[in-house]
Amino acid sequence: MTSLSIRGVTKRFTATPVLAGVDLEVPAKSITAILGPSGCGKTTLLRIIAGFTDPDTGTVLFGDRPVFGAGASVPAQQRRVGYVPQEGALFPHLDVAANVTFGLPRAERRDSGRVAELLSLVGLHEDLRRRFPHELSGGQQQRVALARALAPRPAVVLLDEPFSSLDAGLREGTGRAVTQALRTAGATAVLVTHDQGEALSLSDQVAVMRQGRLVQVAAPADVYGAPVDVGVATFVGGAVLLPARVDGDLAFCALGALPVSPGDAHGDAQILVRPEQLHLHSDSQSGGVPTRVVDVSYYGHDAAVRVDLLPSGPQVVARIIGAEVPALGSVVWVTTRGSAAVYDAATTPTVLVSEGPELS
């Protein structure tokens, strides 16, 4: 397995620029998720890595082997990439065993031990080997597609929204099985997705893409905890955004004085806290800010509670565990744990509250 380097890649379709200079390093044996709303160019980037599409400029390296650069392009069939498209795209005329061994040399295709090994790698039972694609569930099809991609021991594995066609219930289990298989195989993988949860939970590195550019490339915890801008912050999770005045390592806002990392800008700014940093208390002893509960979305394991700061303050949202849901209309006190992230003041003062990830 090799690392993958993308440098200065651009691509335009007729007049529309799709990729505007993309740089990305994917270390060997790691999983990188490219996260972005639909239409941001992430699938085009994946197709460029695979060799199905050529970029206009830039270089693509597998390890230190250039597969695209200086106008020369290695065709897809010689790049040794494993490609798992949306909905699997299994060959409908071949059974599971023939699909899995499609990319192997003729002699190895007969080796039934190899099929069993590959199927168990993706967590499937060997009994499925004679089934045809239409006899498999969506999750099984996706796993067979991964086994097929891994069989020829590719340099890089590319997954294009592999779980988006699955039911919510199947998605998590299939995602876990797929990442486990990728790690067992020691694969270098790039996963394209528009699902924040998927990107954060399955990858070692998240590359957030917006309008043909990578705006932040970092570990999942850093993307969530220290997003580079408000756009990324609201895209990867729920957000409470408030105007504030920053002085030293404290930010003063409607929620009180919150710690910020030293070195952040001084003066007028906006600060961001995550809904799960807010805590609700039933009495004023906690020293929190008084609020009135205006809306409760109960999910079982947790709940999103919208409260209006009293007397006429902005509305914020708190994510609390399901057992502690306050009554609608009651007065509760809000405290904030942890530090806030600081951004430049918006030109117009905004209060943005989002309960969870929203697209674009």
Binding site: Q77, P85, G103, P152, S165
Partner: protein, 496 residues
């Protein structure tokens, strides 16, 4: 290549247009405004309207019974209802005429063409009914609609593309029908063209009537387009489609069975029965083995050659249309559909005139006949080949390339296995059509070349019913496997 195919396909249309312009308005007026033309027009319109309505009702009713009710033996009924396609309309009318002369004239003609052509409506409507999302009907029931109102307001609109498409096919077939109507002595444009051409080699008159016929076809085509409109009929959203529950017929089971039985007996039983009757008891029955064998061999080899040639011609055009969508490829594809609206007699007439005028050496050759088949049946091959290519989306090529498979190897291991069944179905359709083709064969077959259809025609037209019977029986026998394949294809083509 594609351009060449498209050009071939529009030869007849161009011929008709050029001819009409060349003949000049005065002469055209003189040839057209005659009581004879009025009579022909009346006959043709009457027959088309009546037959389209009847086939629509019968085809839809049969489709509903087979796909949506608990009628016993539905698989068998499905095959039986497609079976009339194996009996060419002129063999059907032979079956009736040789029993009783009372079927001559309008009502007899209407009866016989309806019995011959209702499968053209039945097959697409049945396929649509199978593919319908039951959730739509359930929603209608939940909104308080009864069974009949649901059928009228929810199911029928969904069936519209199938019904209109089937109706269009019936109409076009009728406009092109020659043998059946000639035998029933019911003159329409097509029979009149043939008579003009044969009796007096009266080119201008025949060609002028051909122009009117083409105009009728265009009216049908435009009418269908207009009625179909721009509505979408696809399922929205994901999830696996469920099968609709079947309705219990209860006390209606026996009457329904009897009605279906009557239909099949009239449509298939009568012609086959009368073929058997003439084979066994006809006084003129003779088994000239050598003639039978040679006609069979000619029919088979023409059928196979035309099937292969037409499928090969359709491939590049379909490939362009599926893989490289664009205004040019769409135009090329559409132009190959024109002959669908042109009766065989017009195609034949055009090729006769064009070959005599420009390429004399191929007049009266098998090559010209094959060319006519190619032009006439290209649309059938196109439909199948297109559908087959859609079974092999480019994404699968990408996947194969990513697994290290080169272009040629991908063709062999992915594309060809995926499209082969569709190509086979297309070729079978063309074969079926060629074996039972009569009109163009009569006009274009080189002297001395006789096929099953032309032999059957020659004998039955001279009232040698017994001598005709073996040829008809052989034609039906040869058509059967292809028809069976076709009925199976229609069941499978809807995603399970």
């Amino acid at each position: 290549m594609s351009v060449l195919v498209a050009l071939l396909a529009i030869i007849p249309l161009v011929f008709v247009i050029v001819y009409t312009i060349a003949i000049g308005p005065q002469e055209a007026w003189h040839l057209l405004v005659r009581p004879r033309i009025g009579e022909l027009l009346g006959n043709t319109v009457r027959l088309v309207v009546g037959c389209v309505l009847l086939t629509a009702v019968i085809g839809t009713a049969c489709a509903w019974v087979v796909e949506r009710s608990d009628l016993p033996g539905r698989r068998l009924w499905h095959v039986l209802l497609a079976a009339p396609l194996a009996v060419p309309a002129f063999v059907n009318s032979f079956g009736w005429v040789s029993l009783t002369a009372r079927v001559e004239g309008f009502s007899g003609a209407l009866l016989i063409v309806t019995l011959s052509y209702f499968p053209l409506v039945y097959l697409p409507v049945a396929a649509t009914l199978r593919g319908l999302d039951p959730a739509l009907e359930e929603t209608a029931y939940a909104l308080g609609h009864g069974h009949w109102r649901t059928f009228g307001r929810v199911i029928l609109p969904q069936l519209r593309p199938g019904l209109l498409g089937g109706g269009l096919l019936v109409g076009l077939h009728l406009l092109a029908e020659f043998g059946a109507l000639q035998m029933l002595r019911f003159p329409t444009f097509t029979t009149a063209i043939y008579d003009q051409y044969r009796s007096s080699f009266n080119g201008p008159a025949a060609n002028m009537i051909a122009s009117v016929l083409v105009l009728c076809c265009l009216v049908l085509l435009l009418g269908e387009l207009r009625l179909r409109g721009h509505q979408r009929y696809s399922r929205i959203g994901g999830g696996a489609p469920r099968r609709s529950p079947r309705r219990r017929l209860g006390r209606l089971t026996v009457p329904t069975l009897l009605a279906m039985l009557a239909l099949v007996v009239l449509a298939v039983g009568v012609p086959i029965g009368s073929l058997v009757h003439w084979l066994l008891v006809g006084t003129s029955t003779a088994f000239p083995i050598a003639d039978l064998l040679s006609a069979t061999a000619t029919s088979l080899s023409l059928g196979v050659a035309a099937a292969v040639m037409t499928t090969v011609l359709a491939l590049p055009v379909a490939w362009l249309a599926v893989r490289h969508r664009g205004p040019v490829s769409t135009l090329l594809e559409r132009s190959t559909y024109f002959p669908n609206a042109l009766p065989g007699i017009v195609v034949a007439l055009a090729l006769v005139t064009v070959s005599i005028r420009f390429v004399r050496p191929i007049y009266q050759t098998t090559a010209l006949l094959l060319l006519a088949y190619g032009i006439m049946f290209l649309p059938r091959a196109m439909v199948s080949v297109r559908a087959a290519l859609a079974q092999a989306p480019p994404l699968l090529d990408d996947v194969a390339h990513s697994l290290g498979t080169g272009t040629v190897s991908t063709m062999g291991r992915v594309t060809v296995p995926l499209i082969a069944p569709g190509l086979g179905a297309g070729a079978a359709l063309v074969f079926l059509a060629v074996v039972t083709e009569l009109t163009a064969t009569l006009l274009l077959a080189p002297i001395g070349t006789s096929t099953l259809a032309t032999e059957f025609w020659a004998n039955s037209y001279s009232v040698a019913y017994g001598a005709a019977a073996p040829y008809g029986a052989l034609m039906v026998l040869i058509s059967m496997p292809a028809t069976y394949l076709l009925s199976r294809e229609a069941r499978r083509s809807v995603p399970a």
